[in-house]
Symmetry: C2
Subunit: 200 residues, 2 copies
Amino acid sequence: MARWAPDAALRLERAAIELFSERGYTATTVPDIAARAGLTTRTFFRHFADKRDVLFLREREFPAVVAGLLAEAPAGLDPMALVLHGLEAVAAGDLERWRGDILARRAIVRSEPQLRERELLKSAALAEAMRDALVAGGAADDDAALAASVGSVLFDSSMEAWLRGPDDVTLLTELRSARERLHRLVSAQRSDPSAARAAS
Amino acid sequence: MARWAPDAALRLERAAIELFSERGYTATTVPDIAARAGLTTRTFFRHFADKRDVLFLREREFPAVVAGLLAEAPAGLDPMALVLHGLEAVAAGDLERWRGDILARRAIVRSEPQLRERELLKSAALAEAMRDALVAGGAADDDAALAASVGSVLFDSSMEAWLRGPDDVTLLTELRSARERLHRLVSAQRSDPSAARAAS
DNA sequence: CGTATGATGGCATCACGTGTCATCACTTCG
DNA sequence: CGAAGTGATGACACGTGATGCCATCATACG
């Protein structure tokens, strides 16, 4: 498969990230991106549904990968443990090597609400994939949906902390830290008005 | 203020919801909406940033309202309790009266990924408003962000259950049910491999 | 060598979204 | 009571995003 240039989508992605970083997202037109990649506008829209989608090429396989991780997980775990198992497997992967690229892309995404919007949709799609995998594993619908959503929040939160913090702290460490924080927050608000809130 | 017709935005919203329900979202053009409302295309884009935004007119004041609720909340509560306090105040409000309208709008939003995308952005903006209010109240940044995100997930989950379930179950009941479910899920996955997962 | 397959180029077309200026209704003030 | 001011709307032009359609070219296969 892939005959002419097998990396048309990758070339377009490279050109887009370069141009977005140089001129900004709105100042870059689709013909600009296609021209730098040596292709035409029509070809761009054959590889990407719209202009925003070019920034999320790498995330296309995420839902399937996470669903596979949940399916392979050891049996006998509750939904929340299953989700955390899958997320830790992802965090412990080779994601650490791509920190620089992820940071560059994040700067672009955060510069435009349109792109943040798309990022949220991709995150929701990932949560839905996790939910479906949990349901397929026998979990109750409501439990599966909530566990998947909470897992998505935990992963986004730890990713944010990992990218913002020093580079000697691993994503896995941040994920476990977020997991601890969640546990503390949810447990604390249990009928105890004397619980002091954290000071600044 | 508001001289000619003080409800231009509301008329446009009505026209849009009618047309979206009749022909579908993509088959309806902005000139169509403006014509039914007795206005022009240019005026439509003065009231709404884009075509999708017309479906979220009512949610514009949500962030400010929730931030106000969190500011007025009794002191001495931890971040999670503060968020739940605010969400319960909203759920106990007059939201129950609008169930029909909310259902109609939800059907449109779920028919198009573009609209679901915008809904997620609005939800994220609400979570950010809660986070900022918590930080202003003295909470730690990480705790505030996580509590706000979890609160948003809980509210969306309970709203979904409320809209899908029988109409004699209140939103407040669903919210507290989701809160219980979260507590159980987070507590269960605590170092106990013998915990059985829920059967179908 | 001829044909089939699939990616790409080129063109036309429509809808979205914005900048700009004119117009009209209503208010305010002399 | 009339004139200037304010603010919403109408009208027009324009660039970009996105899609349908057909032609073209390179590669694979018989």
